[in-house]
């Protein structure tokens, strides 16, 4: 695990990814905050959505920012495949389960920490832009930021497991994109209850229910569990593939 930690931070691209995530977060939440303000300039005040919590802005910004964070999980293993360092790694730690577990802990911890940072950046950026249309109760905002961090950690580890199974970053990213956005969006599109319910079982949608604190179709905590189950499944798949394939 310590080795994974050393490996992660001894490559400069890790730092660039972090910087990119922070910038994306700041830009997106500023933009969303501006939208929220603009939405409140309707002539008829009844149409205004009203005061927005910064937590909502943070959650909304993750839609885009999560892909930068996903990259951390993806590259934690695909970079090993492309550079051949996976052979060194597996020689040092032949147990595929332990390798993946160590990576999962490191990726999870880093993305969680990053999530806290990003949530804070998002909230701090959004608050002044929102002005009178914003609200940032301390307790609620902190809870939202922690939830965002948990969401990102699970998504990051999900990406790791999937990338271990699929090997290529591009393929894994495509599958993730489909899982998080394309498939659930197309299921929700026709507005047929059955399809929407199926979409609710997808990791991205479940994560959003969790972030939004929804009570429908299932409690927010269940959303977290659904997402966690996807993550666990992805890790199991990744482990199986690592054990079966030649390195």
């Amino acid at each position: 695990m310590a080795a994974e930690w050393t490996k992660l931070w001894s490559v400069r691209s890790t730092w660039w990814t972090l910087l990119a995530a922070v910038l994306t977060m700041a830009a997106t939440s500023a933009q969303l905050a501006i939208y929220a303000r603009n939405a409140n300039t309707d002539d008829d005040p009844a149409n205004n959505p009203g005061v927005v919590g910064v937590g909502e802005i943070v959650a909304g910004s993750l839609e885009l920012t999560q892909y930068v964070v996903l990259a951390l999980g993806l590259f934690a293993i695909t970079s090993e495949f492309t550079t051949g360092t996976i052979r060194t790694t597996l020689r040092c730690t032949p147990s595929r389960g332990r390798v993946l577990a160590a990576k999962a802990v490191v990726v999870g911890a880093v993305t969680f920490g990053l999530g806290l940072l990003l949530g804070t950046v998002g909230a701090v950026t959004a608050r002044p832009v929102l002005g009178e249309w914003g609200r940032a109760p301390l307790g609620g905002t902190v809870a939202d930021v922690v939830a965002a961090a948990a969401y990102l950690a699970l998504i990051g580890v999900l990406a790791l497991g999937l990338a271990a199974a699929l090997r290529g970053a591009v393929l894994a990213l495509t599958v993730l994109f489909a899982l998080l956005m394309i498939v659930p969006l197309s299921l929700q599109e026709p507005d047929i209850t059955v399809l929407t319910r199926i979409a609710d079982a997808f990791p991205g949608v479940a994560g959003n229910h969790f972030l939004a604190g929804d009570t429908e179709p299932y409690p927010a905590a269940a959303g977290l569990l659904v997402l966690a189950a996807w993550t666990a499944a992805a890790l199991a798949l990744g482990r199986w593939a690592l054990a079966r394939r030649d390195a």
Binding site: K7, G84, R91, C92, P94, R245
Partner: protein, 310 residues
């Protein structure tokens, strides 16, 4: 000790390793020989748990590599690909390896010293390492856990003559310390000065497994070259030798006598009063012995070297 039992690996239609059974013993340098594509690297990768055997088994010190928790203390290896991240420095690479196996950080400095890499070279990112530096870094990595078993895949590839000499002395020393040392090469001549024993592969199969000296001695082609100023006398000498059962071939101005000894040829020449200008025993080179052994198993023509390396 490395135990390989009925090990087989197929990649699609290609049988890279074919029912290989061999034991690599401690305290000696074992040369692992075979032309490119013979299956040496694949065998080593299977021993290290990287490739999954199609059939059979390989054990290091009686255990399956994949069950080892801190394998760097058991087996050190240098593979043909360095396995260093292009953007990661050599030191960071070794540090990560050390940490994964509970090796103290100071050991990193020690092994860098051992292989003669200075701080500047070790601080370079993987992509900036020359082939020679990469090999040294790889060997440093192999030594991290001070393991009793070492596998070196083509370690002299890309090394300058100094480096080659260094590897020879180094593998010798490791074996003298009682370790199991397996060194692969596609060139027999590289092994002539280092190996105690050779395991030869051809097309995935075991071709020979014997002490080096025995392999050379087993060659019947040991011969004696003679030359002299009097062709007729020389021919008479040749006839006498042939009558004794030696195989005599004439070649421009001289003869080559197989199946006899320099002593016998000299005595006979003296007895018959034949003047000689040259009387030289010719030992068959290991390279010839090797070529003969693998003659029917060479996968690639000589011009296509590298075609089968990985």
């Amino acid at each position: 000790m490395i135990t390989i039992r009925a090990l087989t690996k197929r990649f699609g239609d290609v049988t890279a390793v074919d029912d290989l059974t061999v034991e690599i013993r401690p305290g000696q340098v074992t040369g692992f020989l075979g032309p490119n594509g013979a299956g040496k690297s694949t065998t080593m990768r299977m021993v290290l748990g990287l490739d999954r055997p199609t059939a059979g088994q390989s054990l290091v010190n009686g255990r399956d590599y994949r069950t080892l928790r801190h394998p760097l203390h058991e087996v050190g290896a240098l593979l043909d690909a360095t396995g260093v991240h292009p953007a990661r420095s050599g030191v960071a690479h070794l540090r990560a390896m050390a940490r994964s196996n509970g090796v103290p950080a100071r050991r990193v400095t020690e092994v860098l010293d051992l292989v003669g890499l200075d701080a500047r070279a070790a601080g370079k990112p993987g992509r900036a390492l020359s082939l020679g530096m990469g090999q040294r870094l790889g060997i440093a990595g192999a030594l991290l856990g001070d393991p009793p078993v070492l596998l070196l895949d083509e370690p002299v590839n890309g090394l300058d003559p100094d480096g080659v000499r260094w590897i020879r002395g180094f593998t010798r020393r490791l074996a003298d310390e009682g370790r199991t040392v397996l060194v692969s090469s596609h060139l027999m001549s590289e092994m002539q000065q280092t190996a105690d024993r050779v395991v030869v592969m051809g097309r995935g199969r075991l071709v020979a497994d014997a002490p080096l000296a025995e392999l050379i001695a087993a060659r019947p082609a040991a011969s004696v070259r003679i030359r002299g100023p009097e062709p007729a006398a020389l021919a008479a000498l040749g006839d006498r030798l042939a009558a004794e059962g030696a195989t005599v071939t004439t070649d421009g101005g001289g003869m080559s006598v197989a199946g006899s000894t320099a002593g016998r040829v000299g005595d006979l020449a003296h007895e018959m009063g034949v003047r000689l200008h040259e009387l030289a025993p010719v030992a068959p080179s290991l390279e010839e012995a090797f070529l003969e052994l693998t003659a029917d198993s060479v996968e690639y023509a000589a011009g296509a070297t590298g075609g089968g390396t990985r």
